[in-house]
């Protein structure tokens, strides 16, 4: 099953299981007409929207307060910035500010993933910004199984969830155990290893796995961990992995400064300093806007080449 099929399967199951689950869609992403949800569930529950991200995201929050379970598809992550008010000031805070009286079961779907030609305004990677909003769950699947598991959990969650969907993963295929009960979501160890832990986020997961496979041929044993949930972070699984390997590379296709990779490194530095045999490394976007040209974008993306170089560096 492909990544997109797995994600859409989870949405379909949620829509079938509860009349209260609705889809409010923008351009691209699961809300788009080609997703087929409109045909399957009708325009009452699958809403084509005017281009007003703050308006329709805010309406979704109000609807969630009254018992609906909306999935809001912003399309490109950049467009979500127009909806910062309802996402950060309303959805993430209403439970807290009401002393726990209200829940806001809404899923915000956003597409990330660097691709040549899209230019900086269509290439924002906002996962770290979203992690700065306590009250909001931030998930970022890195595998087809994760795409399914995390969308199932997100649509079952009583908390607001931002679902960070790396479009570069869409062609990925894998085993997806579907149709099961929603279970607690934790980080996954995707490949066991002894020498280095690579914690890879979202679109960087297949790259990390390919680097691990390649280096295995040289006798370097790389453990690959997919955190799956960026906030709250499953720190335990990451620390347990570093306890086995003693070395850490954190990879995220987001900006370097105050980023997700930095949070993972900080966690290990603070809570697992004695486990480390070498200084950890981050592989991220080096604090530059995303250029559209193919040679420039290659330089700033957390590619296999850069991940491999970081693994070799921590082994030096």
């Amino acid at each position: 099953m492909s990544f997109v099929e797995a994600r859409n399967r989870a949405i379909t199951e949620a829509m079938e299981q509860s009349e209260r689950t609705i889809l409010i869609g923008g351009f691209g992403g699961p809300g788009a007409p080609e997703g087929g949800f409109g045909r399957a569930f009708g325009e009452r529950r699958v809403r084509a929207v005017p281009i007003s991200e703050e308006g329709f995201a805010g309406a979704a929050v109000g609807a969630a307060l009254m018992g609906l379970r909306p999935i809001v598809a912003f399309g490109n992550a950049s467009f979500m910035f127009d909806a910062w008010e309802p996402v950060l000031n309303e959805a993430a805070l209403i439970r807290y500010m009401s002393g726990g009286q209200f829940t806001v079961p809404v899923v915000f779907h956003l597409s990330v993933g660097l691709r040549a030609g899209w230019a900086a305004q269509h290439s924002q990677t906002s996962q770290a910004m979203l992690c700065n909003a306590p009250g909001l769950i931030v998930v970022a699947p890195g595998t087809p199984a994760g795409a399914y598991e995390l969308m199932r959990a997100a649509t079952a969650s009583d908390d607001p969830v931002a679902y960070v969907d790396a479009q570069t993963l869409h062609p990925e295929r894998g085993e997806v155990p579907v149709g099961q009960e929603v279970r607690p979501v934790r980080a996954r160890v995707l490949r066991a290893g002894a020498d280095v832990t690579v914690v890879a986020v979202a679109g960087t997961v297949p790259r990390a796995l390919r680097v691990a496979e390649r280096l295995a041929g040289e006798g370097i044993s790389v453990e690959v961990v997919d955190p799956q949930v960026l906030s709250p972070l499953d720190r335990t699984t990451i620390l347990e992995s570093v306890a086995r390997t003693g070395r850490l590379v954190a990879v995220d296709e987001g900006q370097l400064t105050c980023g997700v990779a930095g949070e993972i490194v900080s966690t290990v530095a603070e809570q697992g300093f004695d486990l480390l045999r070498a200084a950890p490394r981050r592989v991220a976007i080096p604090d530059v806007p995303i250029p559209p040209g193919p040679t420039q974008i290659e330089l700033v993306t957390p590619t296999e080449r850069r991940i491999e170089a970081a693994v070799r560096a921590v082994l030096d």
């Binding site: 009349e19 209260r20 609705i22 009452r44 529950r45 809403r47 929207v49 005017p50 007003s52 703050e54 308006g55 329709f56 805010g58 309406a59 979704a60 929050v61 109000g62 609807a63 969630a64 307060l65 009254m66 018992g67 609906l68 008010e85 309802p86 000031n89 309303e90 209403i94 439970r95 807290y96 500010m97 009401s98 002393g99 726990g100 009286q101 209200f102 829940t103 306590p134 009250g135 769950i137 959990a153 079952a156 969650s157 009583d158 908390d159 929603v182 607690p184 979501v185 934790r186 980080a187 949930v229 709250p232 972070l233 499953d234 720190r235 335990t236």
Partner: protein, 340 residues
């Protein structure tokens, strides 16, 4: 149609309670009410008349100016006062404060982000439509919120999707002459021009006169409930003189309200303009003209309300702040679904 006889005393009492709580807030001042507070003095007819038409299942979305709406929805004076003083016994367990008096039981929300109430109420109306539920969404908003981009966004959604939502725009800058450009920073001849453009039913009232607000509130709430389409009410009041730019409001200018002014105005009154525009004094006159109560009965009721506010204030002062470690509570709904 004016105010039905059996509604006169309940409305008077509702407005009086709002007034006495807000006056007490002004007396407590920023030392006891942490942070900036926004009072509702002069606007009471709107909240009392509109909320009296609502059902318990109609969600109400208020703003930073939420104390009176909370009271009209039936959140107790004790819970309101305790929340104002950030006590654990407050409506929002001391996690909201003056701008966020909320109650699940009373379906009352408050957001301090200008325009935010319109978003949430529109969504509540969407939920009613999708679920075939009977409620209507109700948003209170201020005149200046119409300058926020999100307000025409939700007007567009509400008009496009035909959502059962009532927007109650409390224009508390509507002195004479009426001039949204100068008084509200809005390039509109009338506030109702904006929602009307989106096909939303509109009405404007002089909200210093409860007898004018009441029938329009009845009509608009009935229309939204029956036709399942949006409506917009502009409730016009002049600014209360105790509200001065930047500072927290106080009673320094007006003093506390003396109900006797309604039937015994002084020959020389430096506050005559405010007293003419005071909806509470106008409500007193409506009650007296109808004969449903005497001066003495109104004054006795006033003493009862003031006593209740005083007892609630005392109780709030005696109550504890919530435990410090509660700073970590209420962030997530919890459960084992997500890591901790």
């Amino acid at each position: 149609m004016s105010i039905p006889r059996d509604q006169l005393l309940p409305l008077f009492t509702s407005m009086l309670l709002m007034r006495r709580v807000e006056e007490r807030v002004c007396e407590l001042g920023p030392k006891e009410v942490f942070g900036n507070y926004h009072v509702y003095i002069g606007q009471e007819a709107t909240g009392a008349c509109v909320i009296a038409q609502l059902q318990p299942e109609d969600p109400v979305f208020s703003t930073h100016r939420c104390h009176a709406h909370a009271l009209a929805r039936g959140i107790s004076v004790e819970e309101v006062m305790a929340e104002l003083l950030l006590r654990g016994t407050g409506a929002s367990k001391g996690k909201g404060g003056t701008q966020h008096i909320m109650s699940r039981e009373r379906l009352t929300f408050a957001t301090s982000i200008v325009g935010g109430s319109t978003l949430l109420a529109t969504g509540a109306a969407l939920a009613a439509q999708v679920m075939d539920a009977p409620w209507i969404g109700v948003a209170f908003l201020g005149d200046r919120s119409l300058a926020e981009g999100v307000v025409p966004e939700v007007f567009n959604l509400a008009g496009l999707w035909e959502l059962p939502v009532l927007y109650v725009c409390e224009n508390n800058a509507a002195g004479a002459p009426y001039d949204p450009r100068r008084r509200s920073n809005l390039s509109l001849a009338e506030l109702t021009d904006l929602p009307r453009t989106y096909g939303i039913a509109v009405a404007a009232v002089d909200a210093t006169d409860p007898a004018e607000v009441y029938p329009v509130a009845v009509d608009l709430v009935e229309r939204v409930r029956r036709d399942r389409r949006p409506a917009f009410l502009e409730a016009r009041t002049p600014p209360w003189p105790g509200r001065s730019g930047g500072e927290n409001p106080s009673l320094a200018v007006t003093g506390a309200t003396d109900l006797r002014l309604a039937w015994d105005p002084p020959a020389e009154d430096p506050m005559a303009a405010w007293h003419r525009a005071d909806p509470l004094l106008r409500m007193v006159r409506l009650v007296l003209e109808s004969g449903v109560a005497t001066h003495e009965e109104l004054l006795r009721r006033d003493r009862e309300v003031q006593d209740r506010v005083e007892r609630a204030t005392d109780a709030a002062r005696r109550a504890s702040f919530p435990p410090a470690e509660d700073a970590f509570a209420h962030i997530f709904a919890g459960g084992e679904l997500w890591p901790r």
